[in-house]
Amino acid sequence: MGNIFDILGPVMVGPSSSHTAGAARIGLIARQLFGRQPEKAAVYLHGSFAATGKGHGTDKALIAGLLGMLPDDMRIPHSFEIAGEQGMEFTISNKDIKEAHPNTAQVVMEAEGVPVMKIQAHSIGGGRIKVCKLDGIDVNFSGESYTLIIRNVDEPGRIMDVSAALTAASINIATMQVFRDKRGGSAVMVVETDQVVPQEAIDDLESKPGIIRVKFLNPNGTE
């Protein structure tokens, strides 16, 4: 169990910490991973999200997150209209996802000039979430702390690149996980840090061969 502000809190837009606040958080993390506001988004709801999502505003909260809103944003109930104003096209549909947690959402994001991204995440209660798939690769992170997500080629030396770049920026690594689809294939590194990773360090990493994309997640919502 967390600290006293998990007991008194979070401050959020109702009605449900798992189905509303968690859904907004999933949308927000998807946006941060994508690196910008998508021009097109396809949202799929599974299990309890599909069954009771409408009544809980799960759909509105997910779209709100994609628009960059935090779970306490009073504009969440109006997110569909705001998406329209901002030119973000979206679809929401129900989908049965094999072996997924009951509160699962998939988000597929598109924008001109960047590759399509697909994430799968679930809401674990109290407004907290876990991202479990990123472009088909199994991952496991919450985005509750500063998190650096690196997409890279699965080859020797890439972990050292990341470690070197963070060392140069005096950033301490709290936890580190590595995932890949297959040997020599596509890999993901999830690095939780104690400090904010500056843009220069991210740019520096992205310029290295074998590193495909780098995104930094800030739980406070700033990009």
Binding site: I4, I7, V11, M12, G14, P15, K54, G55, M74, G126
Partner: protein, 289 residues
């Protein structure tokens, strides 16, 4: 490490000569690695958010399902007639509990305390009292620490989610937290706070989580009233010198045992209880069309 029992917290209070709220604050600062001031600021933010959230109620707004929304306004109008059974103060408590429950259902901002479904209990007790009587903001924030500390002990020994332990874990816990918090405002020590919390929890023990159509609306909104009124009754008993013969830690353990034995249809699945009643099923079918 946060307090695993009220007993452990009371030992610290006695040893260091500090009130319960302070013991909770010191533990929070220690656990999160922040200063006491930073912890206080965060709690102040929660308190102010509760005040503002309550005032955002709109009597004409209804939830997406159409099931709830106007209850707070109806209770207000009835109270203004001056002929309530429970008296003016209690009627205000009830109306504020309804307003927060409706706010939650209508996608307005709330403070989960301990959950979104139970978000009305604590503000109904604390905000109503604050506006009715002369209490400093400082005392109210201390009371918020009391509530949070009690909630944390419940979380450590049992649970706070309806899906885990039924509504006793949500409204029941919120009620126990509010009972202890209001006792602090009345000048009670950790011992009395524990008795108030224990009595509030016992009175709601076994309460199931049976939301119609799985929505946090029926019966959740009105259960916030039950939780708030029960909190004040338990607090008054404790302040009168009535004690819980079962220590609060053991009451929490009993609540966990009851929750573990509770059938899954009664733990936030929308299957049993009033959700499974013919009228509940009718609503479910209408909404799923």
């Amino acid at each position: 490490m946060s307090y695993q029992s009220m007993e452990e917290a009371c030992v610290r209070c006695e040893k260091e000569g500090i009130p319960f709220w302070k013991a909770v604050q010191l533990e929070d600062a220690d656990e999160r690695g922040v200063t006491e001031e930073a912890s206080w600021k965060q709690m102040e933010y929660m308190w102010n958010s509760m005040l503002n959230n309550l005032d955002a109620y709109e009597p004409e707004l209804v939830s997406t399902s159409g099931l709830v929304g106007k209850e707070g306004g109806l209770m207000d109008a009835y109270r203004q007639g001056g002929d309530t059974l429970c008296g003016d103060f209690m009627a205000k408590v009830m109306s504020n509990a309804l307003k927060m429950g409706c706010n939650n259902a209508c996608m307005k901002r709330i403070v989960a305390a301990p959950t979104a479904g139970a978000c009305g209990v604590l503000p109904a007790v604390l905000v109503t009292y604050y506006r009715e009587y002369e209490v400093s903001e400082e005392t109210m924030i201390q009371a918020m620490y009391v509530a949070a500390g009690l909630g944390q002990i419940i979380a450590n020994r049992a649970y706070l989610a309806g899906a885990s332990g039924g509504c006793q874990a949500e409204i029941g816990s919120g009620s126990g937290m509010a009972a202890g918090a209001i006792c602090h405002i009345k000048g009670a020590d950790a011992n009395v706070i524990g008795h108030a919390c224990a009595m509030a929890l016992k009175n709601l023990m076994g309460l199931v989580c049976d939301p119609v159509a799985g929505l946090v609306e029926v019966p959740c909104v009105k259960r916030n009233v039950g939780g708030a009124v029960n909190a004040l009754a338990a607090a008054d008993m404790a302040l009168a010198g009535i004690t819980s013969k079962i220590p609060v830690d053991q009451v929490i353990d009993a609540m966990k045992e009851v929750g573990d034995k509770m059938d899954v249809s009664l733990r936030e699945t929308g299957i049993g209880g009033v959700a499974g009643s013919p009228a509940g099923q009718e609503v479910t079918e209408r909404l799923n069309m």
